[in-house]
C-alpha cells in the first residue's frame, strides 16, 4: 500500500488522517459519478447538463477516432447522451463509474449505428450463468481515488505505450492492425501493451 513509509516517518496525526482517508476511499465516488447518481435518483437536469458539457466533446472526439464523420459523431453522441438520461436508472455505481458506463454505451451505439451490427453481452439473469464463488467484498467498487490513480498512471505512460493504448481501446483496433499502422512488429505491440497494462493494473490494485 502506498503511503505506509510516509506514515511511519511523520507520526501519529498523519497516521490518523491516513486512516480517515482510507475509509473515505471506500465510499466516495468521483464527481461525474455523483452527478450521474443525481440524474438517476432525482432526474436532476442541472446535473445532466453538467455531464453533457463534460462528455459531449469527449464523445465526439472518441467517435471521430473510431472513424466516424463529424456529422455521424454528433448524431451518435446525441444518441449516447439521450440514453444516459433515459437509462440512468440502470446505472450501478457499485460496478462502474460514470466514465466507464458512458464508454460502454458509446462503444455499443457506435457498433449499432456505424457498423450496423450488434454486440452480444452476458445476460446476468441467465439460468446458465456461473457466479463468482468468492467475490471480493468491494470488487468493482470505484472510488474517486482509484479512478484518479488510474488516470494519473495513464498520463504518466511513455508516449509509445499511451499511443498503443489509445489505438486499441479508443479506436478499437486489433493488435495486428496496430502493428501494421505503426510499422512495428506484433511482438512490439504486445510487449508495449503488456507493460502499459501492468502499470495500470498495479495502480488499480493499490487502491
Amino acid at each position: 500500500m502506498k503511503g505506509t513509509g510516509m506514515q511511519a516517518a511523520s507520526g501519529s496525526i498523519d497516521a490518523e488522517s491516513t486512516a480517515r482517508l482510507a475509509s473515505k476511499r471506500r465510499a466516495r465516488s468521483d464527481e461525474r459519478t455523483v452527478l450521474l447518481l443525481r440524474v438517476k435518483r432525482e432526474r436532476c437536469e442541472a446535473s445532466f447538463n453538467e455531464l453533457y458539457r463534460y462528455y459531449a466533446p469527449r464523445l465526439c472526439a472518441f467517435l471521430r477516432q473510431k472513424g466516424a464523420s463529424d456529422r455521424i459523431s454528433q448524431e451518435v453522441m446525441q444518441d449516447v447522451m439521450a440514453r444516459v438520461w433515459e437509462k440512468a436508472h440502470q446505472f450501478d455505481a457499485a460496478t462502474a463509474n460514470a466514465s466507464t458506463w458512458i464508454f460502454t454505451i458509446a462503444r455499443n451505439r457506435f457498433i449499432d449505428h456505424v457498423r450496423k451490427e450488434s454486440r452480444s453481452e452476458v445476460d446476468m439473469n441467465d439460468p446458465l450463468l456461473v457466479r463468482d464463488p468468492t467475490p471480493a467484498p468491494d470488487a468493482g467498487l470505484q472510488s474517486a481515488e482509484a479512478s484518479l490513480a488510474l488516470r494519473t498512471a495513464i498520463a504518466a505512460l511513455p508516449q509509445a505505450q499511451a499511443e498503443i493504448l489509445k489505438l486499441i481501446y479508443l479506436r478499437g483496433m486489433k493488435q495486428q492492425a496496430v502493428a501494421t499502422q505503426l510499422s512495428i512488429s506484433l511482438n512490439t505491440v504486445k510487449s508495449r501493451l503488456r507493460l502499459a497494462l501492468e502499470k495500470l493494473r498495479r495502480e488499480m490494485e493499490n487502491i
Binding site: 445532466f48 453533457y52 466533446p57 469527449r58 464523445l59 438520461w85 460502454t104 478499437g172 493494473r201
Partner: protein, 224 residues
C-alpha cells in the same frame, strides 16, 4: 468453471468493441460461464472509461455546448429495448442467452432438433449458421460420444466454445464453457469424450481442410 479462456487480445477487443458480431457471441457465451473473464472485461472497460476522460475537450473541435431537449419528458430519442422472451426450445437448456438469441435471430428456431443439420463425419453433424463467400463461417457442431473428427488443418484462426459435453485433442481437454483458439495453419484431431453428446459453437474466417487426401476429396464432394 471454465479452464481455457480467450486470449487477452480477444478480451480487450471484446471490451473495446473491436470484435465482429459472431465473435462477440462466442466470447459472451464463454463469459456466461467465466466470472474471471467477466472481471477482466470490466477492468478493460474501466481503462476505456479513463481514456475517454483523458481524451479531453481539446481534441473535440466544435462539439455543442448545451444539451438539446434530451431531458424533455416527451423525448422520443431512445427506442425502448425490445426484449421479447424467446420461445422455449431444447436449445434453451444448453445455450447461454447470447448464443440462444443469436441462433434465434438467424434461424427463427430455439430447438436443437429443428436446425438444419448436415453430415460432417461419422457421428458428427454440423449446422451452418453463417457462411459468406468472404467469411465469416459460423457453425454449431454436434458430435456423438467417442466421435473422432477427421485430422484437419486451419486456413484461418478459429475459436470454439463448448456448450455441452467435452472433447480432447493434443492441446488439452475442452469442457463446457472452455474456449479453444486454434491458430492459422495449425492441425489437430478432436476426439469427443464418452458421456454426453458434444455441442460447440465454432467461428472462423475460412473453413478447415482435412490433412488426408481422400478426406479432402470427400469434403469437396460433401460441400458441392
Amino acid at each position: 468453471m471454465a479452464r481455457y479462456h480467450p486470449s487477452d487480445d480477444w478480451l480487450v477487443a471484446y471490451a473495446s468493441g473491436a470484435v465482429d458480431e459472431q465473435t462477440s457471441v462466442l466470447i459472451a457465451t464463454h463469459l456466461t460461464y467465466c466470472p474471471e473473464c467477466r472481471e477482466e472485461v470490466a477492468r478493460h472497460e474501466e481503462i476505456g472509461g479513463a481514456l475517454l476522460d483523458v481524451l479531453g475537450a481539446g481534441d473535440a473541435g466544435d462539439a455543442p455546448d448545451e444539451a438539446p431537449n434530451i431531458t424533455a419528458p416527451d423525448s422520443n430519442m431512445v427506442p425502448q429495448d425490445e426484449d421479447a422472451p424467446l420461445p422455449k426450445g431444447s436449445l434453451a437448456d444448453i445455450a447461454p442467452t447470447p448464443l440462444l438469441k443469436y441462433i434465434y435471430d438467424l434461424t427463427g428456431k430455439t430447438d436443437l432438433e429443428q436446425l438444419s443439420w448436415t453430415f460432417y463425419g461419422v457421428g458428427i453433424d454440423r449446422a451452418v449458421l453463417v457462411d459468406g463467400p468472404e467469411g465469416p463461417l459460423v457453425r454449431l457442431l454436434k458430435a456423438q460420444p467417442g466421435a473422432k473428427f477427421p485430422h484437419h488443418r486451419h486456413l484461418s484462426e478459429e475459436l470454439t466454445v463448448v456448450i455441452q459435453g467435452a472433447y480432447k485433442d493434443n492441446t488439452g481437454r475442452y469442457d463446457v464453457g472452455d474456449v479453444q483458439c486454434v491458430s492459422m495453419e495449425a492441425a489437430h484431431q478432436p476426439i469427443v469424450e464418452e458421456g454426453d453428446v458434444c455441442i460447440a459453437l465454432v467461428v472462423s474466417e475460412r473453413p478447415t481442410v482435412p490433412t488426408n487426401f481422400l478426406a479432402r476429396v470427400a469434403q469437396r464432394l460433401l460441400d458441392a
